[in-house]
């Protein structure tokens, strides 16, 4: 994790976090009458991995690190390894340094052919503690 000028937005120095992750997921596809999330009215799932944490500046921070659209008919199994975050993980300030309580959660938005748009949060979550010092070399 580094302390870098947030070049995507406000021009102050903020913490930039680097996270790599693996995702293994099996979206049940309902063979043999099993329960499935892809029922007749589901057009797609919008999956996203978000990091949630607290800092001195802000009581609650949520950052989407990665997302994926899974269409009806796509391979329902996710087996991703060593993924880098899709979006820059900038904090609003310097709250990532030494932060032990950064939690990663996988959630998804169910998009129907027509009807309600529910947001579902996965039941597992992973804690990612950030080190107390900044990296000085680019090892990303």
């Amino acid at each position: 994790r580094k302390n870098v000028e947030d070049f995507t937005g406000p021009r102050e120095r903020s913490d930039l976090g680097f996270v790599t992750f693996d995702i293994t997921a099996d979206i049940l596809y309902g063979k043999n009458g099993l329960q499935t999330i892809f029922d007749w009215n589901v057009k797609q799932l919008f999956l996203y991995l978000s990091a949630e944490y607290s800092t001195k500046n802000n009581a609650l921070n949520q950052v989407v690190l990665w997302d994926k659209i899974m269409l009806r008919g796509d391979n329902p199994r996710l087996f991703l390894k060593d993924m880098k975050s899709k979006y820059f993980f900038f904090d609003d300030g310097n709250g990532l340094k030494g932060n032990r309580n950064v939690t990663l959660t996988l959630s998804w938005n169910v998009v129907p052919n027509a009807g309600i748009l529910p947001l579902v949060t996965g039941s597992g979550h992973v804690s990612v503690p950030f080190p107390d010092t900044y990296e000085t070399t680019k090892s990303y």
Partner: protein, 163 residues
Amino acid sequence: QLYYQVLNFGMIVSSALMIWKGLMVVTGSESPIVVVLSGSMEPAFHRGDLLFLTNRIEDPIRVGEIVVFRIEGREIPIVHRVLKIHEKQNGDIKFLTKGDNNAVDDRGLYKRGQNWLEKKDVVGRARGFVPYIGIVTILMNDYPKFKYAVLFLLGLFVLVHRE
């Protein structure tokens, strides 16, 4: 006879208005139903889809939600997904959005110098949707003649129906 027809027409219009205002109160949004105008949320939503919104203050804004917002000084509402939020202890929140179908986040769309959206920019949260139906309003907007034709037909229908 004519008097009755005028009253009848007035009743229909005011009932429609009442339902619309009622919807506004129940959902807490000034615009409880919006039409998707661009393809920036494909493949989930396409131009012409109809979205049903709520805007209850108690509902916190969280990442992943689909929000409809207006940029200060601009008329057109935008429908995108929340990518990042930073919320203070007292509930003040600033957040960033991005269209599913866009490669980059919305900072380029915001006002010059604006980096975040706030609660006041939000028109509502998308809770449900119906595809295609909104195409009618887009057509009426792009082709005013079509709008007059629709209104004329509606008026005709009301008159004829009374016979």
